[in-house]
Amino acid sequence: MTRASWNRLAWIMALTLLALPFVFPFLWMVSAGFKSVTEIFGAPNLIPRVWRYENFAEVFTYQPFARQYFNSLYIAGVVTILTLLISSLAGYALARIRFVGAGLIMLLLVTALMMPDEVTIIPNFFFIRWLGLVDTHWPLILLPVFGAQGVVATFLMRQYFLSLPKELEEAAKMDGLSRFGIWWKIAIPMSRPALAAVAIITFLNSWNLFLEPLIFLSSLEKFTLPLALSNFNDSYGLPLWNLQLAATTLAVIPVLIIYLIAQRQIVESFALSGVKG
């Protein structure tokens, strides 16, 4: 072998070694999800000696796990659609319409851009309580749509609209389309990449949201997935490992499969939001 190919082999080896702690947790999660409690703490082996499929059935009897799964899905869907709508409207105005106050609005929004939810969560809790919406899904929808997430989406959309050729929209204006019509019929159809990026990031964020469910939800059948996952404990508060890991497998694997299929699109979305957001 030439020196160059030895070199390459060394790189690949190093990267493979480095990849272990990234892959290993997923493999062990799936494996442990199929094991009995005793085997989990026996000698370490990746392939279970006895495949205990019952774990996955017990997940659904221990908690209303199907219902919780559905909660996460529909909440993430609603949050995504609302965010797309609202952020693309505001992003469009901030990119294209010259109006007094636009600069001030931008400045205000920047303050929220990276603010952790923890900063405002206490007053928001009292406000939601005052509205009588504790232990409902409303705060899980409202806070992300109008919080830092929504602001990131707004800036992302604005940046993208700025990069589009202006003349097409001007032609539409001369053709008699209203501002709303220009937004909907011209700007939105041209913004697929940015909309896809916003949709992907927003969906994942809502899907993985934890602080808000933890604070606002108390009934099991209203839980979302992350909260449900953290709740597989016995009466002493100790984790029921095999159930918890089986449930985690059920929550994580579909997302990973979608990620493998749409890998390129998803990674690009994050790159876009990181660079511009």
Partner: protein, 345 residues
């Protein structure tokens, strides 16, 4: 059909004034070209008329209406954009009919309007294609077709030919000229290319720094420029500007007005003779041969350089001495501010 009136029109973006007060009367059916160097405000002025920018001050009248606050789509104007601005997701037919559709014009009427415009521009065969399937020249024609379908009282063109190659540009130029002859609608056309301006315009408006330098028919601008800027902007290669002493040497003996400090001579008006005769003496430093003519770079005695176009016969060689003469009526005089000084002749 409509005339267009601009009265004291101003436009600022923030603190920057782009259009600094323009008065202009455009007659019904006239072809007016706005020309000037980049940044002179010509496109902004067109966009003010179109309604794509709001007017900061002054009054804009189209027909008998003040349209300062009439939305673009209700002004009775149509615009052809530099980038054509065709909707990528619509066919040629849909692109051309889009404006009428938005305005809820009946389908039959809409289709007739599109068919008429397509026939006029020989686009019939392309109606079901998408913009991406068209060549640059075809896209340009569709953009013009879309404007025609709108049946405006004023056509606006924003550098419509600058994205085409040289050959197509000449061709489309003649098509636009013949279109104007056929429809006889008021047309306002923006370009930075003075050849386009000269060949198309009934009247040219020369702009600089948001102000009108001169308005006039092409021949008028060429023969009687109001100042050095217009003199140099119109005509190619551009007019030589020399110290007034050069004019004295060329005119031998005539008395010049006191205020004249500079003079101008167009390269095509200089006659290049052998070194012996009377006139301006100089040495050829560079000769650019282009077939029908040769552009001579000449260093004059005293250090100034000037350009001369040599047409018939063999051009003088580089480094040879020459004498330049000119017909007295072809000499332009300017005062120290660059404003034209009328000659006695």
């Amino acid at each position: 059909m409509a005339n267009v009136q601009l009265q004291g029109l101003k436009k600022s973006f923030g603190a920057v004034e782009i259009i600094r007060g323009i008065d202009l009367q455009i007659e019904d059916g006239e072809f007016v070209v706005f020309v000037g160097p980049s940044g002179c405000g010509k496109s902004t002025l067109l966009r003010l008329i179109a309604g794509l920018e709001t007017i900061s001050q002054g009054e804009l009248t189209i027909g008998d209406r003040t349209v300062n606050d009439v939305p673009a789509s209700a002004r009775g104007v149509a615009m052809v954009f530099q980038s054509y601005a065709l909707y990528p997701h619509l066919t040629v037919r849909e692109n051309m009919g889009f404006g009428l559709k938005v305005r809820k014009v009946a389908r039959v009427e809409r289709e007739r309007a599109v068919a008429d415009a397509a026939a006029l521009l020989k686009l019939d065969a392309l109606l079901d294609r998408y913009p991406r399937q068209l060549s640059g020249g075809q896209r340009q024609r569709v953009a013009i077709g879309r404007a025609i379908v709108a049946n405006p009282s004023v056509f606006l063109f924003d550098e419509p030919l600058s994205n085409l190659d040289a050959e197509l540009r000449v061709h489309m130029r003649s098509e636009i000229a013949s279109l104007h002859q056929r429809v006889a609608t008021t047309m306002i056309y923006v370009t930075h290319d003075q050849v386009e301006a000269m060949t198309l315009a009934d009247r040219i408006v020369v702009l600089r720094d948001g102000r009108v330098e001169q308005v006039g028919a092409p021949q008028e601008l060429y023969e009687r420029p109001a100042n050095i800027f217009v003199a140099q902007f119109i005509g190619s290669p551009k007019m030589n500007i020399l110290n007034v002493d050069a004019a004295k040497a060329l005119l031998s003996g005539e008395t010049l007005p006191q205020s004249a400090t500079q003079c101008g001579v167009r390269p095509e008006h200089l006659q290049v003779g052998s070194a012996e005769g009377a006139g301006l003496r100089g040495t050829v430093t560079l000769a650019e041969y282009a077939g029908a003519e040769t552009l001579l770079h000449i260093e004059l005695e005293g250090g100034d350089t000037c350009l001369a176009l040599h047409r018939d016969g063999t051009p003088p060689r580089v480094r040879s001495g020459v004498t330049l003469t000119v017909e007295p009526s072809r000499i332009y005089l300017f005062d120290q501010n660059g404003v034209a000084v009328p000659t006695a002749a």
